[in-house]
């Protein structure tokens, strides 16, 4: 029983930690994120499995995590408030040639990150950017001036 409880708690704890640590800008994982994700995952795994290395325990814990994930996903669809807590909301970083300084600082996003996304969208300068939005998954969406929005 304790193993299932550990798996359940471990899943939600990791979701919370990743939510608190914050979204890093960019659509690909950098080596920095690789270290973070695999390190955290590995540490959680050793604590959750403990010395219960049986196949039965593995199946039960995998099912527990699946159920926990399903519960979370279901709760997100039922409550927009809960979805906001779990996922956050998109945040405008640049609008009409003005930086949202507070958002950049608290989200730990550099102007260079926005420029990189702009270049990825085929834009050469910030003058061509109408809006830059930090999406919930960490990607920066760029809306070019007088063009249809394209995802970065």
């Amino acid at each position: 029983m304790a193993a299932v409880v550990r798996a359940f708690f471990g899943y939600f704890f990791l979701v919370m930690i990743v939510r608190i640590v914050g979204r890093r800008p960019g659509k690909q994982m950098t080596p920095f994120e690789f270290v973070l994700i695999f390190f955290i995952g590995g540490l959680a795994l050793t604590a959750i499995v403990g010395d219960e290395v049986s196949f039965t325990n593995a199946i039960c814990q995998i099912i527990t995590i699946g159920l926990a994930h399903y519960t979370l996903a279901w709760a997100r669809t039922k409550s927009s408030r809960f979805a906001r807590l779990v996922d956050g909301t998109p945040l405008i970083l640049l609008e009409k040639k003005e930086w949202r300084a507070q958002t950049l600082r608290f989200q730990r996003v550099n102007q260079d990150d926005v420029l990189a996304s702009a270049r990825d969208s085929g834009l050469k300068t910030l003058d061509q950017v109408d809006r830059a939005v930090l999406e919930r998954n960490g990607e920066i969406s760029i809306s070019p001036m007088q063009a249809t929005p394209r995802k970065a």
Binding site: A2, I20, G22, G50, D51, R84, G88, T89, P90, L91, I92, E95, T103, F106, R131, V133, S143, P149
Partner: protein
């Protein structure tokens, strides 16, 4: 039978910015979230500092030492331990502990079962069960004399234990085992 409609019309559920782009930004919520994050980071830092201090085991706060009333034994142990994590309980014997060339040491059942004694170093010459615990006999000549118990608690809880030389004043202590 399917009760959900197959499709439904698009409604303006996400707020538009300047009547142009639907972003769904919520700065009120976001500012509250940033404040919450700051509190959480302070809390995390506090947890780490307390952990380094030993409040969750393995640190200065966790270490404890008890001496029996008549000085026959001095026990060094960890008053806060972690589940499935090893630790050493050390018993240093005083002059009156050696009787007839041996030391007879009683340990309560909680030390063996709940606190999970894995090894006794040195190995005792004889082990007797009874009286709610185990009694070990070690051949002994002169001081200093020390016995170590390697512990590994199996589960969280608060456990009392008693340890002492047979016929002398024992040491009673409590160990908190965290998950």
């Amino acid at each position: 039978m399917v009760t959900e409609p197959f499709s439904k019309p698009v409604k303006d559920s996400v707020a538009k910015v300047n009547n142009e782009i639907e972003v769904g930004e919520n700065l009120d919520f976001q500012r509250k979230w940033w404040r919450f994050e700051n509190v959480v980071w302070v809390f995390f830092t506090l947890i780490i500092l307390l952990d380094l201090a030993g409040l969750f085991g393995r640190g200065p706060i966790a270490k404890a030492e008890r001496r029996s009333a008549d000085g026959t034994i001095d026990v060094k142990y960890e008053r806060i331990e972690r589940t499935d994590s090893p630790s050493i309980l050390t018993i240093d014997f005083g002059p009156s502990a050696i009787q007839d060339g041996k030391i007879t040491l009683y340990v309560s059942q909680s030390l063996v079962k709940a606190l999970g004694t894995q090894r006794v170093v040195p190995a005792p010459l004889e082990t007797r069960i009874g009286n709610g615990g185990l009694t070990y006999s070690f051949p002994a000549s002169r001081l200093p004399a020390t016995v170590d118990l390697a512990l590994e608690p199996s589960g969280p809880g608060v456990y009392d234990f008693t340890i002492g030389v047979v016929g002398a004043a024992p040491v009673h202590a409590k160990v908190f085992v965290v998950p």
